[in-house]
């Protein structure tokens, strides 16, 4: 159908006004507020089903919440579903994290990052509720199990260990299966497993419990959809606007069919995916439920609707744009330390676009373009887009990606099929599965069949080096933090220092593994997720929740933080103490101890700063980075994880490089005490002076192939570098070259430092400014000042002219 230009313009302005209206109501005018409802309903259910096996108790709790929680439909919405009673209202899961929420209850409203309001009345209700959970919530249980050694390493800023009081996210369910079977079909699968099953022993009993729990949850979600259907028709009755009334009646009809039955149309498919998406947050409030390969599993519905004249591109665009508003309206409650490392309410929701199909073909399609356009219309931080690049991606598609990058939303991030598909083969997938990976912020997983647990823990690389130089003693505190591996002054050569560093790093990796294994098992014992598991292959088949290792591919991810900082520091020590003999090892350690705060130490600091730096295409520092990254991979992948599978490495820091930096004294790269480390695997901000191509050459000397969980590279370009069609073509070629050289991921921040400084001084008029923090985008003014400063300090590649 050919539309007149006038009609197109009219429907576009309709789309924009709907999206802007939703954005206004659900984001701008919905300041974050904490409500106790989810916590209270959980308490009621846990009391009522106290005697049930945990997995059944969890399913019945989900059902109780879904039957009783407050639901709403925004006046602009075309498809329904939200995890909490109002937009931007994080939910509280007392069964997972009661202690830390209690401890932070008075801080939420006033903390510098991610402040969340709570009324006095709700605060006291929540307090009373949570106090009853103090000894039985997951965080309380875990806290009693983790070793003192790990706790002390956490306190010293050597490591973090994830998921102590929250569920695991960063996972994509099998949406294609949901759409083709519907929950009724999933229940059919569960029934066929139970049919004639004779439970034998503990294992058999456990399977049966799981299947019964999965079935209860699926039924509960079907009933939840019926509640929304009823609400939609009730609102329709009291709506005067006939257009809106029809929309609501359609919504009501659709919710009678999905997610229970297979979706027939694009809108049904979207409603089905979205309602289930909302329930996945309600079940356990994990980080990042991924939307997966949206332009793939939705495409058959799009195509059929278009062919049969049921939908226009504009209508598809309107529906898809709403996803951005609805995703950004979901926020997660995080503790005050975590908000330092994950500032800006990130949920790491992510949509994957393009990539290869099962036979290696290019599967970018019309929906790919629509999603990119939707992001441009909505302009909210969530979800970010991972665009799967490969050599068959056409110029037009890549051009649209560059156009979107230019908007300065911080996405799409470029994910390189050439590097990533082989990683999934290495991780054990079939070729077809490997080609069906979806993207997280940096990590990638075979869609619907992987539970890869990024955020099992983070290790502070630069501090490992400080310990390696000083027999395990932190120079600035004098405390024995690490292993006794000798003193710098006694090392015969640089190799001894590297060997000592490896021992320290391996030690802290092991501490993460020991602590995380305990946490992993605690999740299986206390917090299985029967509903999400029913949509992950092969949980139903195996009769195991994902927490029990029911998923086909299991991993746990450990993040190395500050690879560029530690490489620069090690390069400086090598240059000054070993190659030139210009600085006495004890003087260097003394200078670090006092944070360079004496004239003689200042001289050492200058020499440190002049030493070779990673990011300049200089092998001296770059090969140290390459070797340290390889060493990290070897140390991480040797550890099996408790669900099956093994630990996998990632060079990514989210914003932990700021947090670890605050807890670390001065380092031999000349960095003062407390300053942020390098972000992801990117060079230290401002130290890459030879331009972006040199930085790319340095970055790709690190072997991204073996870093199985992913490598983040954040590059900041000034807007001037993409202000013409020719400049945008160069950006496309630049991206292709990055991928030729074997990079895993690259993302661009396109905001001038001038603009950022202005926003720092004037938050009110810059509320819309979105920046890429590290693997995710956030509103700049919602970040704390340290994170803001760090973003400003990142090298801005001004064009040299």
């Amino acid at each position: 159908m050919i539309m007149t230009e006038e009609k197109t313009a009219a429907s576009r302005s309709g789309t924009i006004s709907r999206i802007n209206g939703m954005k206004e109501r659900m984001i701008a005018n919905s300041p974050p507020e904490l409500l106790p409802e989810r916590a209270l309903l959980t308490s009621e259910a846990y009391a009522a089903y106290a005697g049930e096996p945990v997995v059944l108790k969890r399913a019945r709790t989900l059902r109780h919440i879904l039957e009783n929680m407050t639901i709403f439909i925004d006046e602009g919405e075309l498809f329904a579903g939200h995890p909490s009673p109002q937009p931007r209202s994080p939910i509280v899961c007392p069964e997972l994290g009661a202690r830390w929420v209690l401890a932070d209850l008075d801080k939420f409203a006033t903390r510098p990052a991610d402040a969340i309001a709570i009324t006095d009345e709700n605060k006291s209700i929540l307090k009373e509720c949570l106090e009853k959970w103090q000894d039985s919530s997951l965080d309380a249980i875990v806290s009693g199990l983790i070793s003192d050694e790990a706790k002390s390493a956490i306190a010293e800023g050597m490591i973090t260990v994830g998921a102590q009081g929250t569920a695991h996210g960063n996972i994509a369910i099998d949406n294609a299966k949901l759409l083709s079977l519907g929950l009724r079909g999933i229940i059919g699968e569960i029934d066929s497993k139970m049919d004639g099953f004779i439970p034998e022993g503990a294992e058999g009993r456990k399977k049966l419990d799981f299947w019964r729990a999965a079935k209860i949850s699926c039924e509960a979600v079907i009933a939840f959809a019926a509640r929304y259907s009823k609400l939609a028709s009730e609102i329709a009755e009291s709506t005067d606007d006939p257009v809106r009334r029809d929309e609501l009646l359609d919504m009501s009809d659709i919710l009678k069919r999905v997610p229970e039955y297979p979706a027939e149309t694009f809108r049904e498919a979207l409603q089905s995916v979205w309602l289930v998406y909302a329930v996945l947050y309600i079940e356990a409030d994990p980080h990042a439920i991924l939307l997966g390969r949206f332009d793939q599993y939705m495409y058959p519905f799009y195509k059929r609707d278009m062919e049969e004249g049921r939908m226009t591109d504009e209508e598809a665009l309107e529906l898809v744009s709403s996803i951005w508003i609805k995703c950004t309206a979901i926020i997660k409650l995080m503790d005050s330390v975590t908000t330092k490392t994950f500032a800006g309410f990130p949920l790491f929701q992510n949509i994957t676009l393009a990539g290869q199909g099962a036979r290696g073909e290019d599967v970018s399609n019309e929906l790919t373009d629509i999603v990119l356009e939707a992001a441009a219309i909505a302009r909210t931080p969530q979800p970010s887009i991972g665009f799967r690049y490969h050599n068959k991606i056409g110029e037009a598609t890549l051009g649209k990606v560059c156009d979107t990058i230019k908007l300065g939303l911080g996405y799409p991030a470029i994910m390189n099929d050439n590097c990533i598909i082989p990683k999934h083969l290495m991780r054990g997938a079939t070729l077809e599965e490997a080609r069906n990976y979806c993207t997280n912020c940096v990590e990638t997983d075979v869609e619907g069949v992987t539970d890869s647990r990024p955020n099992s823990g983070y290790v502070n690389f630069p501090k490992c080096l400080l310990l390696a130089m000083n027999d395990g003693v932190d120079p600035s505190t004098g405390r024995q933090v690490g292993l006794k591996t000798g003193h710098l002054r006694d090392f015969a050569g640089f190799g001894d220092l590297v060997a000592a560093y490896r021992k320290q790093m391996a030690h802290f990796v092991k501490l993460i593994v020991d602590a995380y294994d305990i946490i992993d098992r605690a999740h299986a014992s206390y917090a299985p997720e029967p509903f999400m598991s029913s949509l992950l292959g092969d949980c139903v088949e195996r009769g195991l929740s994902r927490q029990d290792g029911g998923v086909r591919y299991n991993f746990s991810g450990i993040f190395g933080v500050g690879i560029a900082s530690v490489s620069d520091a090690m390069a400086a020590v090598r240059k000054l103490c070993f190659d030139l003999g210009k600085v006495d090892p004890d003087d260097l350690i003394d200078a670090l101890r006092i944070g360079f705060s004496a004239p003689w130490a200042e001289d050492i600091k200058i020499l440190c700063k002049k030493a070779p730096k990673f990011g300049n295409d200089d092998d001296y520092a770059d090969l140290i980075a390459r070797d340290l990254a390889h060493m990290f991979c070897e140390e991480v992948t040797k550890h099996p994880c408790v669900r099956g599978g093994y630990y996998i490495p990632e060079l990514h820091s989210v914003s932990t490089h700021v947090y670890f930096g605050e807890l670390t004294g001065a380092t031999p790269d000349g960095r003062p005490a407390g300053a942020a480390f390098s972000d992801g695997a990117s060079p230290v901000g401002g130290s890459d002076k030879n331009g972006p191509t040199a930085a790319v050459r340095s970055m790709t000397k690190i072997d991204h192939q073996e870093i199985l969980q992913g490598v983040l590279y954040n590059q900041k370009f000034s807007p001037a570098m993409m202000n013409s069609p020719a400049a945008l073509s160069r950006l496309g070629e630049y991206i292709r070259t990055w991928c030729d050289l074997g990079g895993h991921h690259i993302q661009f921040n396109i905001v001038s430092t001038e603009k950022l400084r202005e926003a720092q001084g004037n938050a009110e008029s810059n509320r819309d400014l979105i920046v890429r923090v590290a693997g995710y985008s956030a509103y700049f003014v919602e970040l704390n000042e340290n994170t803001q400063n760090e973003i400003i300090a990142r090298t801005e590649y001004e064009e040299i002219y």
Binding site: I606, K610, N690, G691, R697, Y734, T737, L741, I800, Y801
Partner: protein, 302 residues
């Protein structure tokens, strides 16, 4: 291997996207015969290596003064003074400077060394159809080095571009017309008196070289720096239009609006900027110039 002419460069810019086709690596040669009033890289002018002191980055800590083995530096309260007579360009000052405020401008390289450095960008060139651009200073002022460098690039199938002011011998111009893959040159003013006043050199030779290149069928890009109050009167613009129409009808002309990005560098060299009050041209001024030039059979690139 035969001994190579050494060239003196002062900067290599990677990911240059306006200096010829594709993603380019631009090499800036040191030394220029002209002294354009608006020159945005005054450190490029002298053929000699020199010390550059950037006032804004300097903390006046005096480390450089103490470090200098030749006593060539002094600190007079606000400024670091370089006594050129005593300075041997050894770089000791820069090795201790905390703010990277003082440093050497000018480095000698062989054609092969330069190519090896630049070739780190080869994967980008291959993807984008880019290559090396030699700029300046004045690229043609070191013709022996340039010839060897261009020959070396051609032997490796690397695309080359030249940016020149054409204030050079015909033999050098003929050489680049054979060895470079793409040429862009400036015409700064048509009136000889005005040209001399603005650049301190005559334009007779420049225009002859321009005419020579325009008639070679090499499709060069002509660039005209539009400097308000200096070379933007109607007579000048018409003369430029006529010249191009006569010597290279249909040739491409890019108007480069004057900018002030190099002003800070004058202070770093202890020099005065000659156009302290000249504003950058407004869009209307650029459009006006384009409209006048647009009357001639030339292809104006905005």
């Amino acid at each position: 291997m035969k001994s190579s002419a050494r060239g003196r460069i002062f900067k290599i810019a990677r990911y240059a996207i306006h200096d010829g086709p594709g993603i380019r690596t631009t090499v800036f040669m040191k030394g220029c015969p002209a002294r354009c009033l608006w020159c945005c890289s005054p450190e490029s002018q002298s053929f000699e290596a020199q010390i550059v002191w950037k006032e804004g980055l300097c903390s006046r800590c005096g480390r450089c003064v103490r470090q200098c083995p030749n006593g060539a530096l002094s600190l007079d309260g606000r400024s670091v003074i370089v006594e050129a007579r005593r300075c041997t360009i050894c770089g000791e000052c820069s090795s201790v400077c905390p703010g990277n405020a003082i440093g050497i401008c000018g480095q000698d390289v062989t054609p092969l060394e330069l190519l090896e450095t630049a070739s780190r960008d080869l994967p980008f060139w291959r993807r984008s159809g880019g290559g090396v651009t030699v700029s300046g200073g004045e690229a043609l002022a070191q013709p022996l080095f340039l010839r060897e460098f261009l020959e070396l690039c051609r032997s490796r199938s690397i695309h080359t571009a030249i940016e020149t002011c054409l204030c050079a011998d015909r033999s050098a111009v003929a050489m680049i017309s054979e060895l470079a893959d793409f040429i862009q040159f400036d015409i700064k003013a048509m009136s000889p008196v005005l040209h001399r006043r603005l650049t301190s050199v005559d334009n007779g030779r420049i225009l002859q070289n321009a005419s020579f290149l325009l008639k070679q069928n090499l499709a060069p890009l002509v660039r005209f720096p539009l400097v308000p109050g200096c070379n933007d009167d109607e007579g000048e613009l018409n003369a430029l239009g006529e010249f191009l129409a006569e010597n290279g009808p249909g040739s491409a002309l890019e108007i480069l609006p004057y900018h002030r990005l190099g002003v800070g560098m004058y202070g770093a060299l202890g020099r005065e900027y000659a156009l302290p009050d000249t504003p950058v041209p407004s869009k209307a001024e650029i459009d006006r110039a384009a409209a006048i030039l647009g009357r001639y059979p030339i292809n104006i690139i905005s």
